[in-house]
């Protein structure tokens, strides 16, 4: 230990004796050492604010590549509200992302319809019903579930879900909205469970005890007491799940089919915003308008997820205040 020399031992009389002094006390420091420490503290401060720099950097560089088109020839209304996406057409290039937004929207909404009951239900089970051992085991499983890479999910979508959906629902193609939504549901459930469980854990035990003392069952306690008081945290859990689903790339690229249209049923194939960038960026030559429009989609995605995450953060902050 570095500070052994200045350890203070009480004398037998109960008085405190000064520690024996070495030739150079450890608190008298060389100027070089002090300067090194100053430098290091500045480095720490720099790293501390680096996250802000990176978020701005991401926005700046994505914006920089897309700005030429965004402020140039791109008609924003036509970009957002038409469904015709023909970026490589020879005669008439059209960039309308409405169908892609519909693709992202449909897959996300269906995924949330599946994931929200499961995610929040599991969070309730973890926090209220099961014992400590089961809880630890389940949390490990959920953590492992969250660790599965998205490209593996995509592969599962093609190799497992595709034939399964074809057989169960008797449809010709299994790469569709339903397939992507099932994968996204499985991918976004872990974050919902962990945030949701935190929210339920944050409800003071005195609330539960008061409800039980009034004679309510556990289910009544959950329904009448816990859910209302944890609703902000649960909302944040759902929002983070939505953010995850909207931004997911590889799984939806592989599992939703490649048809750019507005889906009418869960069995229609779609193409999402993320999948479009992943599928077409390789072919678009750097600086071309096709390349730039993909960056504009990137700006759109960045804005959507930023808004969702900000909302989740504000909702969580709301709980902490109250």
């Amino acid at each position: 230990m570095e500070h052994e020399a200045i350890k203070v031992a009480p004398s037998p009389q109960g008085r405190v004796e000064a520690a024996p002094r070495g030739p150079e006390p450890p608190w008298r420091r060389r100027p070089l050492e002090t300067a090194g420490e100053k430098l290091l503290e500045w480095l720490i401060r720099l790293c501390g604010v680096s996250a802000i720099l990176f978020v701005f950097g991401i926005f700046f560089f994505v914006f920089r590549e897309g700005a030429g088109l965004l402020f140039g020839e791109l008609d924003l209304a036509r970009f957002l509200f038409t469904t015709e996406w023909y970026p490589t057409s020879n005669s008439n290039v059209r960039y309308g992302v409405l169908a892609l937004i519909a693709g992202t929207g449909s897959v996300t909404i269906l995924a949330m319809i599946i994931a929200v009951p499961f995610g929040l239900g599991s969070a309730i089970f973890l926090s209220e019903f099961c014992g400590q051992r089961t809880k630890e085991t389940l949390k490990v499983v959920i953590e492992l579930l969250a660790a599965i890479p998205s490209v593996v999910w995509g592969f599962i979508g093609i190799s497992v879900m595709n034939p399964l959906i074809q057989r169960v629902f008797d449809v010709p193609v299994g790469l569709n909205v339903l397939n992507g939504a099932l994968l996204l549901a499985l991918m976004s459930v872990p974050i919902m469970v962990s945030i949701g469980e935190d929210a339920l854990k944050a409800v003071p035990d005195s609330h539960r005890e008061a409800a039980l003392a009034l004679g309510s069952t556990r289910w009544q306690t959950i329904y009448r007491v816990l859910l209302p008081s944890a609703k902000n945290g649960l909302l944040a859990a759902v929002l983070l799940g939505v953010g995850r689903a909207v931004g997911e790339t590889m799984a939806v690229l592989m599992a939703t089919g490649h048809a750019i249209n507005i889906p009418h049923s869960p069995f229609d194939p779609v193409r999402t915003l993320t999948a479009t960038i992943a599928a077409e960026l390789g072919e678009a030559s750097v600086g071309s308008s096709h390349y730039q429009v993909l960056f504009v989609i990137g700006i759109l995605l960045f804005s959507i997820t930023f808004a969702v995450n900000l909302a989740a953060d504000l909702v969580v902050k709301g709980i902490k205040k109250s």
Partner: protein, 297 residues
């Protein structure tokens, strides 16, 4: 009176409702376990004919229809190592700042918000950023270095979050004791705080490795290629200025671009990728459980 409250009709209904609720929620939770076990089991069974040591150390051949995954595996190792070397110091120092230096003010709030948002930025947007900033603007070109930088920034929040948790679990009394004997802030951090949280930090670093190994979209346009010929078995076959193959990208390629690959090939690739990621994660979890059991305070 022998009859208890629970035996009245009212009580029976309550009891039944409670049981139903428990069963429904329990079923939801167990339905989360099922896919993990089923998927891993199914993939392993389908992959069995190809899984062997040879599969790992031979290169893909014949338009990726034969052979193993050596070049992809090595590429992933390079990407993971380099991005770890970049992300770990920055992430740990950022967490040290947030936990030891930052005051409760607007700047700290903005930093925390930025960390949350950095974690929430879609991976494909990270890819666009990597392409715009490192490949084109910085002029690094598509290379292992550019891809690793992109991955490092993407996984920074993982390291920051777990390091912060590890640092904040060191009791404040430890720091106060150290300050009281005259140590400076940095001496306290180096002498007391970091040694007491090093295993927690390690857990975060391990999680970052697992996350990096599985990412596909960010490397697709910044450094990974469909195919690259290198010498099988040579661990120094890539330089950081080279493009490389990556395991995740390789799985994507043989699943979607190669039509007549043997049935077991994509399965075996998926199992190697999944196995690596899950093993690394399980290590982190085991480390955490072990730490919690021997915590002295």
């Amino acid at each position: 009176m022998t009859s208890t409250f629970a035996e009245t009709r009212f009580g029976r209904t309550r009891k039944r409702n409670e049981l139903i609720a428990k069963c429904v929620f329990g079923l939801m939770a167990s339905l989360l376990i099922a896919p993990l076990l089923l998927i891993v089991g199914y993939l392993v069974v389908e992959a069995l004919p190809l899984l062997s040591w040879d599969f790992l150390v031979t290169n893909p051949e014949g338009g990726m229809r034969r052979g193993g995954i050596w070049s992809a595996l090595l590429g992933t190792v390079y990407l993971v190592t380099l991005s770890l070397l970049i992300a770990a110091p920055v992430g740990v120092l950022a967490a040290v700042y947030l936990n030891e230096y930052a005051e409760e003010n607007w700047l700290t709030r903005v930093i925390n918000l930025a960390v949350v948002n950095l974690a929430g930025v879609p991976s494909i947007v990270h890819a666009l950023f990597g392409l715009g900033a490192f490949v084109l603007f910085a002029g690094i070109g598509r290379s292992i270095l550019a891809a690793s930088l992109t991955l490092a920034i993407m996984t920074l929040p993982v390291i920051i979050a777990s390091t912060k948790e590890a640092l904040s679990s060191v009791p404040r009394a430890f720091r106060e004791a150290c300050w009281n004997v005259g140590a400076t802030r940095w001496q306290t951090i180096r002498g007391i705080v970091l040694p007491n949280s090093v295993s927690g930090i390690l857990t975060g670093v391990i999680l970052q490795v697992s996350r990096t190994a599985g990412e596909t979209a960010p490397v697709m346009f910044t450094g990974a290629v469909f195919f690259k010929r290198i010498e099988a078995g040579d661990p120094f076959a890539y330089s950081i200025w080279d493009q490389c193959m990556a395991l995740s990208m390789h799985l994507f390629t043989i699943t979607t671009q190669v039509n007549d690959a043997p049935h077991a090939l994509p399965y075996a690739t998926a199992v190697v990728l999944l196995g690596t990621v899950l093993t690394v994660n399980a290590t982190a979890i085991a480390l955490r459980v072990y730490l919690r059991s021997r915590k002295k305070w």
